[in-house]
């Protein structure tokens, strides 16, 4: 039985109301809000957080492959999956690959993960899809696109949802694209792309799937179909004879927005989370053709993870203004801070990867003191080379002291900096993020999050920050 063993999602904390976008840019607003990645987030950090959520409570050494899908990977040349694997603290012998080029890349990765498990070349494959696509100012997609990530652990045993079958079609269709030079998504005229691209391909693939497995729409309790807009979903449902009220999964467009590569997985997670044992799910995704799956929910769904989609949706914070959104997306040229730049060094980042990227610390075998950064001589008892490498990322912490700093450059001053004590006593001097400066209190609980620290020397330095515990 091949299927989903666990899932996790990541929705960034900040939400921008579409009304605010329309207020700033003019035109009509489409209602609702969209999730917006913080200035220190990108598809790597969101993908890593989704993986961390997925494998929470699971022995990471059991995972032997990681697939990362995004159309907005920060590097054109350099894998993202390798960074995500380090951030999630997976073993060094994990097989990994990036998937890109289409918003269906996440679903393609998911189907290849099933194949990999089926073939026996991997036992447990984690697939994460993550995107933060941008539309030009004033465009419809500027309002509809949201940022987020989702991940699934695919394996053979103890599955929560089983993959019964799949069907896929190809269509070299230019509807939405970015050339290698484009920052913003381009698209052809919407009537053409919606009727001839999305609707036709999705109808064809779903009909093909039903024919292939001799099933009818009424055999499914849940139907998970991502759509670029609510109208397209409504039209497709009508064509296929689906019941919008009872069967079709709410598309999260008004709360999160269209998260591109992540979106099919995000909706699938939301649907499994609400499913009952024995439910059949029809899951389809669009992009350069389309792909559809039959998924059957097992008894284990009752033991599944917490209601993570709902929790993420509930923990959003409003983004103050459209200008702040532009700053998050680095779309306003800003005055360079009159502060010294930080050094950066590839060999340094590589050498310290276990400490900077995996966020390991040192625990003294002699006196038990937990310390960061890595030490060779214990700060407390001075014993030498007598340390155990410990994982700090899963630990909860509390604020010991903090400051609201207007001197340290930040797109949204004040920069919040804290001394954090982690469970076990390790102290870390770190940046805070996803935080309302006025909510910070001494002793407040915080959690560790993987973020982009800076991009000096034109490459990305990833590492760890803290944020108020959610």
């Amino acid at each position: 039985m091949i299927g989903i063993k666990s899932w996790g999602i990541y929705i960034p904390t900040y939400r921008l109301s579409r009304k605010e976008i329309a207020r700033a840019m003019g035109g009509a607003h489409l209602g609702g809000e969209k999730a917006v990645a913080n200035f220190d987030e990108d598809s790597i950090t969101m993908g890593a957080e989704a993986v961390r959520n997925t494998i929470d409570g699971i022995d990471a050494s059991e995972i032997d492959a990681l697939f990362f899908a995004a159309t907005t990977a920060p590097y054109r040349e350099k894998q993202s999956a390798s960074t995500v694997a380090l951030a999630a603290d997976l073993e060094e012998d994990v097989f990994f690959s990036d998937f890109s080029g289409s918003i269906r890349a996440g679903v393609i990765a998911l189907s290849l993960a099933m194949d990999r498990v089926q073939s026996g070349s991997s036992e447990n494959v984690i697939v994460t899809a993550s995107d933060c696509r941008m539309g030009t100012g004033g465009s419809e997609v500027e309002q509809t696109f949201g940022d987020g990530a989702a991940a699934f652990l695919v394996g053979k045993e103890d599955v929560i949802a089983e993959f019964i079958g799949q069907y896929s079609i190809s269509d070299d269709f230019i509807d939405v694209w970015r050339t290698s030079e484009d920052k913003f998504v381009r698209s052809w005229e919407d009537r053409f792309i919606k009727t001839q691209g999305y609707s036709k391909n999705m109808a064809r693939v779903i009909k093909g799937l039903l024919d292939k497995y001799h099933l009818a729409p009424s055999d499914f309790q849940k139907i998970v179909i991502p759509a670029p807009d609510p109208g397209s979903l409504k039209g497709l449902s009508k064509t296929l004879g689906l019941d919008m009220k009872t069967q079709v999964q709410e598309p999260l467009l008004n709360t999160v927005g269209d998260t591109g590569t992540a979106h099919p997985l995000l909706m699938l997670a939301a649907s499994i989370e609400e499913a009952s044992p024995g439910d059949k799910i029809l899951f389809a995704a669009y992009g350069d053709g389309a792909q559809a799956f039959v998924i059957s929910v097992t008894d284990r769904v009752k033991k599944g993870p917490r209601k993570i989609v709902k929790d993420c949706l509930d923990s959003g914070m409003p983004l103050a203004s459209y200008v702040q959104y532009l700053k998050f997306k680095n779309l306003i040229p800003t005055e360079a801070a009159r502060r010294p730049t930080y050094p950066s060094s590839v060999p340094y980042m590589w050498r310290e990867r276990n400490y900077f990227t995996r966020f390991h610390g040192s625990k003294c075998f002699s006196c038990g003191a937990e310390q960061y950064p890595r030490q060779r001589i214990c700060y407390v008892c001075k014993s030498k080379d007598n340390f155990q490498e410990i994982k700090l990322a899963p630990k909860k912490g509390k604020v010991i002291t903090y400051t609201k700093d207007y001197l340290f450059p930040s797109p949204v001053p004040p920069h919040m900096q804290a001394v954090v004590e982690l469970e076990g006593g390790c102290r870390v001097y770190m940046m805070m993020t996803d935080v309302n400066p006025d909510e910070v209190k001494n002793h407040m609980p915080v959690e560790m999050v993987f973020r982009m620290l800076h991009d000096r020397s034109d490459f990305y330095h990833y590492g760890w920050k803290c944020r108020p515990a959610r």
Partner: protein, 387 residues
Amino acid sequence: MAAGNIKDKVSIVGMGCTKFGENWEMSADDMIIEAAYEAVEDAGIELKDIQAAWVGVTSSGASGTSLANPLKLDGIPITRVENYCASGQEAIRNAAFSVACGMYDIVLALGYEKLKDSGLRGLPLTSMTDPVIGLGGTPPGLFGGPWVTFFEQYGVTKETLAKIAVKNHYNGSMNPKAHFQKAVSLEQVMKAPIIAWPLGLYDCCPTTDGAAAAILVSRRIARDFRDDYINIKGVSVIVDSLHPGYRPSHDYSSWPATVLAAKDAYRQVGMTEPRKELDLIELHDCFTMTELVTYCDLGLCKQEEVKDCVDSGVFELKGEIPVNASGGLKSFGHPVGASGIRMVYDLYKQMQGKVGGERQVKDAELGLAHNLGGAPQVSSVIIVGMD
């Protein structure tokens, strides 16, 4: 901890200090020359009499050549020392050791910094070699760290800090070499924009250019130069082995390096009650919070008493023990490498009775200078006194 003692082995017979401030029209070399010539003229010697030199500078220069080149000091040993904000005192300390051991009789210690040419706001960060560790920190953020402990446990408020700024600005308003020569009101300090909470603009020292110099000689020949020389009574530098933000169990009620440096210096002097025995103090008020913590760390009062001490004016010019009669880093400015020597310059002029006016501390015979640098991890203390 050291068992040795430098007490009364080395004397200071000449000192110099430039005007501190935004010295746009002076280069580092210009300031070095101004400070050095004032010091040698004050000592009644010439530059050629100097047998060895130490120069303290953090970011504006490197090596002994930074001194040799402008001063044309040919053929003598010159060493650049750097220990964050203690760099100036390090120059004096190492120069003093060289004289105390009998290697040289007449040496120069000079500190300088030319910060305003950098185009940067404030001082650089403390860890300049690491792309991740310490990231997000700024000097006011780091030095303000103890605020939580002092506000929560010891009744200190933002107003307590503001009173320190008011005191130091007032003292500096009467000092012709100070960067800022302007008194400020409590209200001004309280209403100033926040730099790093709880520190506002007036809680932070400025970014300053300046240089200061001292001529150190063997005590045995000090009287050959002048009658009102001062003696080095104790010197200490202590360095902590971990950035405080990463230090397990650090409680932010103290900067331990200062406590240990003071203890070491007091031992050399044989001092047990610094608040009674010292006549005046120049301490490292890079931020008002630092001055507050340092009152406790130097043993002038306990943490529980510090708010009352500030409120009752213990450290004001007319108080029990004047602290930063010069105006301190807050008002005099903080050209990093120069500051430690500038402090000793102020103690020297006070003891010689040359300050004059309201700022003159009467009958000052024993004074202490203190620096604190890094994240912070480095502290230095020098105690000087008349015979």
